[in-house]
């Protein structure tokens, strides 16, 4: 069982997942993600990128990035830097049960007035490996799907 949580002041389900970003982190970093079934790709927004990943404000300026991906959302468009990532989804009895390791990528959002307050989002590039359950202000769980059910699908941009 992999459990998420709710907080009193925030109306969306959250789950903590460890990430390792190539060239950015030197250890596993625990990040709280919104379980976002409306997102195709997992992303870290500036608040978590700075306070948890240790990135500087200057490094979140898209003008300094070698390549920029543009994503669209309800709130408008935003620029993202895509980088390789490992995800370690930890069971409630961690470390007794080994974590579920997902290899993929993650998008890091540019620091703007609009993006600076946004939470990080866990999208279908990671969620596809799990059965997702969420009850309003109740239980939030991820269960690893059997490998036959869960091919690793690279989502188109």
């Amino acid at each position: 069982m992999i459990s998420g949580f709710w907080t009193p002041q925030f109306p969306l389900p959250l789950i903590r997942i460890a990430v390792w970003l190539e060239g950015i982190t030197s250890e596993w970093v625990l990040v709280p993600f919104v379980v976002d079934t409306g997102a195709t790709h997992t992303c870290v927004h500036p608040l978590d990128a700075t306070r948890l990943l240790g990135m500087s404000a200057a490094s979140l300026d898209a003008a300094t990035w070698p390549r920029v991906e543009a994503s669209s959302g309800i709130g408008g468009g935003a620029n993202y830097l895509t980088t390789s990532a490992l995800y370690a989804v930890m069971h409630d009895d961690h470390p007794t049960t080994p974590p579920e390791i997902i290899t993929g990528s993650i998008e890091i959002g540019e620091l703007t007035a609009e993006s600076q307050t946004l939470p990080s989002l866990l999208g279908w590039d990671v969620l596809q490996h799990f059965r997702v359950t969420a009850e309003w202000r109740g239980q939030v769980t991820l269960e690893r799907r059997a490998s036959a059910e869960a091919p690793s699908v690279g989502l188109p941009r």
């Binding site: 109306p11 390792w20 596993w28 500036p46 306070r51 240790g54 404000a57 490992l86 307050t117 989002l121």
Partner: protein, 85 residues
Amino acid sequence: MSATPAVNPRPSIQEAAATQRYWDDHYAELLEQFPEQFVAVRDGTVVASHRDLAMLLYDLQDRGLDARTDVAIEFVTSRADRLQL
């Protein structure tokens, strides 16, 4: 990437849960004092606040504080209950 390194994340799950409990317990008073601002807390005391995340980070840097390891940072808002991602 090569072999998967052992998973001992920082913060630990227990540390992250304790930080979250702090925000949950103090959110109302922080909202009263620092509405719509980013706040940085160290040992239960607000050491910096700003409406702009970058400015808060520069302020912390000027004080020799590491945003990742020396403080906990949160955005305190009355509008968290309305969000369309």
